[in-house]
């Protein structure tokens, strides 16, 4: 397949946006981490720090009508679809101004208006759900594509297998993106997987191409995203991408990530996608001031979002009883 070619002027645009997206994700999540420590974020929370290039590349490549399906590790994917920071932050804090009024929490970020069709907290569940969206796109000839993000550990659960085969059988427009960060929660994926590349080495089981990409290279992610979205829109069926990456933090709030060798962590910190991309842009002649301006703009936005979120009150009690059913209520008796 040919490499997608950019118009050079567009390319500059796109590149700055890719950079900005990553900076948004990073700074937002760094703030979330601080808010944990300060006790503002309750429950659990799973950060994507280090993995931003994947969400940024796809977010840039997807059309507004495309759909994202993500996991509990979904902050980055939500923001990358253009959802505002404040409601996401408020949701993590359990405030009424949250994206779901505080009812869903960190693991279930959803914004249907932005094509963010949900974050799912049971490993594997959203793969078949994304397949269903693709089925609907095909049936309605709507030209939409469903993009489904999940981790390496997810490749060993049954729903992965069922979803991949199902999508392939009906040639559905869905792009499966495995973010291989080398670990499930605390266990190395190699310890519990029969193949080296948990997703790519299984693509052939579904008649699919073996695709491995550098998940820390945002321009590569963007290129692959464009290519596979186009492939889906052309009616060629599903794709399975394995993006190699690494999370800088532990699995979730409670986890310091001590099970990982220091040398491994250090090596991957060297490959942090954001400084790497910034260096590259600078080398390619993008003005330092332009990049600095982006960083500053985002920093301000994060501060503002934090204030807005903090100012939002807790949800009123009656919200707990709302929207069990489509009539807005919870009554099971008639």
């Amino acid at each position: 397949m040919a490499q997608v070619m950019f118009d050079p002027s567009l390319q500059q645009d796109v590149r700055l946006r890719l950079f900005e997206r990553m900076v948004i994700l990073r700074r937002f999540e760094k703030r979330v981490y601080d808010l944990f420590l300060e006790g503002f974020v309750k429950g659990t929370s799973h950060l994507s720090i280090g993995q931003e290039a994947i969400a940024a590349g796809f977010g840039e490549a997807m059309q507004a009508s495309d759909w994202t399906f993500a996991t509990y590790r979904g902050h980055a994917h939500t923001l990358s679809r253009g959802v505002e920071m404040a409601p996401v932050m408020a949701e993590l804090m359990g405030r009424v101004g949250g994206l779901m009024g505080g009812k869903g929490g960190s693991m279930h970020l959803t914004s249907v208006d932005h094509g963010m069709m949900g974050s799912y907290a049971i490993v594997g569940a959203h793969l078949p759900i994304a397949v269903g969206a693709a089925l609907s796109a095909k049936y309605r000839k709507s030209n939409q594509v469903a993009v489904c993000f999940f981790g390496d550990g997810t490749t060993n659960i049954g729903a992965f297998h069922e979803a991949l085969n199902f999508a392939a059988v009906y040639d559905l427009p869905v792009v499966f993106v495995c973010e291989n960060n080398l670990y499930m929660e605390y266990t190395s994926i190699h310890d519990v997987t029969a193949v080296e590349h948990p997703a790519a080495d299984r693509a052939a089981s579904y008649g699919l191409e073996r695709i491995i990409v550098d998940g820390n290279d945002v321009s590569e992610m963007y290129r692959v995203a464009q290519e596979r979205l186009q492939w889906a829109r052309a009616g060629q069926g599903p794709s399975l991408i394995e993006a190699m990456t690494y999370r800088h933090n532990g699995h979730s709030r409670a986890d310091p990530g001590k099970y990982r060798p220091d040398t491994e962590v250090a090596a991957w910190m060297q490959r942090d996608p954001i400084p790497a991309y910034r260096r590259r842009l600078e080398l390619e002649g993008v003005a330092v001031a332009l990049l600095d301006e982006i960083e500053e703009r985002v920093a301000v936005a994060v501060d503002e979002a934090t204030e807005v979120a903090k100012a939002s009150p807790p949800p009123p009690a009656d919200l707990a009883w709302r929207d069990v059913w489509s009539d807005g209520g919870w009554q099971w008796r008639s």
């Binding site: 959803t110 269903g132 309605r140 929207d323 099971w332």
Partner: protein, 325 residues
């Protein structure tokens, strides 16, 4: 008016809704080309084409996941899970995803799906193909649950389920597929959450659903004729929404409550009904509320054993006689 079997009603129900609304698609194992293992969906493929009537792999998680995803994005899909026992292999999608996603997203997502499934015993299929799983579904907030007992109700409740914006678990009694009844011509639509008074009566209220409706009515007839005990029989038709008002009203008149349940005893819908009536109708009850259920055991395969354990007309008569008499 035409005589229709419960099996034929499945076809008519699907055809009625698919004719009306092209967002309705139908997926399942062997449902299209072969017309389903119970031969209830033969002809649908020819009528609606392979884009709307879809044979799937043996992948219940994928089937129901696909159902949910399609429903979230504009379709009103229906799936068949061949035997309700197989909900075991896709329970996460039903109980954790379909049931909770509207709530978790604060109402952003609507999931208008119907899952049809053959439910219950009586066909000597053994413990893994005979379960009554209505209580699995009823125990999960966010699921509606329907169990039609007649061809008419099958069509009418199915139509209501398809038109409802929430996930509906639609359980067809396998043992009723061959039964027949008169069904009116034209469109049939019922409402979810309305019980049907199958037989009025002043001495005892029998609350039941699904295949047990017929046995309860027969038992009531015998109790009236042979022992002069006049039983009201209420077919709940749906467990969620639960028309407890009709039950409370009847118990208000009879002062006695019996449930007849095909499911194993513990945590059945009968326990829920008894508990509500014992609370809200405490002062109307003249004697203990009694549940007549399959005992809390897996179902045996041999005919003689299966017949022992699923509530029979004889057992219903005997228990009510003993407890009321």
């Amino acid at each position: 008016m035409a005589e229709l079997s419960y099996r034929e009603a499945v076809y008519r129900a699907l055809a009625q809704e698919m004719e009306r609304d092209e967002r309705v698609v139908f997926l399942g194992e062997d449902v299209a080309k072969a017309g389903g293992v119970f031969k209830a969906t033969s002809g649908l493929l020819d009528r609606f084409g392979p884009g709307r009537v879809i044979d799937t792999p043996i992948s219940e998680q994928a089937i129901l996941g696909a159902l949910m995803g399609a429903a979230m994005t504009g379709l009103r899909p229906v799936a068949e899970i061949m035997y309700s026992d197989f909900f075991g292999v896709c329970w996460d999608i039903v109980a954790n995803q379909m049931a909770k996603t509207r709530y978790m997203t604060n109402g952003q997502v609507t999931i208008p799906v119907v899952i049809r499934s053959g439910n219950g015993g009586g066909l000597r299929f053994g413990a893994q193909h005979s379960q009554s799983i209505e209580n699995w579904a009823m125990a999960v907030p966010g699921l509606k649950v329907a169990l039609p007992s007649t061809p008419h109700d099958l069509i009418g409740l199915f139509a209501a389920a398809v038109r409802d914006d929430d996930p509906v678990i639609f359980l067809e009694s396998k043992s009723l597929y061959a039964t027949k009844d008169e069904v009116a011509d034209g469109e049939i639509v019922e409402s979810l959450g309305r019980a049907r008074l199958v037989r009025s009566g002043t001495d005892v209220t029998i609350v039941t659903i699904g295949a047990m409706v017929h046995r309860s009515r027969e038992a009531a007839d015998r109790l009236a004729q042979e022992f002069g005990i006049d039983c009201a029989v209420i077919d709940l038709r749906t467990l969620v929404p639960l028309d407890i008002g009709t039950v409370l009203a009847s118990v208000g008149e009879t002062s006695r409550l019996f449930t007849v349940e095909e499911n194993p005893q513990l945590c059945g819908w009968g326990a829920e009904v008894v508990s509500i009536v014992s609370d809200e109708g405490f002062y109307t009850l003249d004697g203990p509320p009694v549940r007549i259920t399959t005992p809390h055991i897996p179902l045996p395969a041999a005919a003689e054993l299966e017949d022992q354990v699923i509530p029979s007309v004889d057992r219903i008569v005997e228990v009510i006689m003993k407890r009321v008499g």
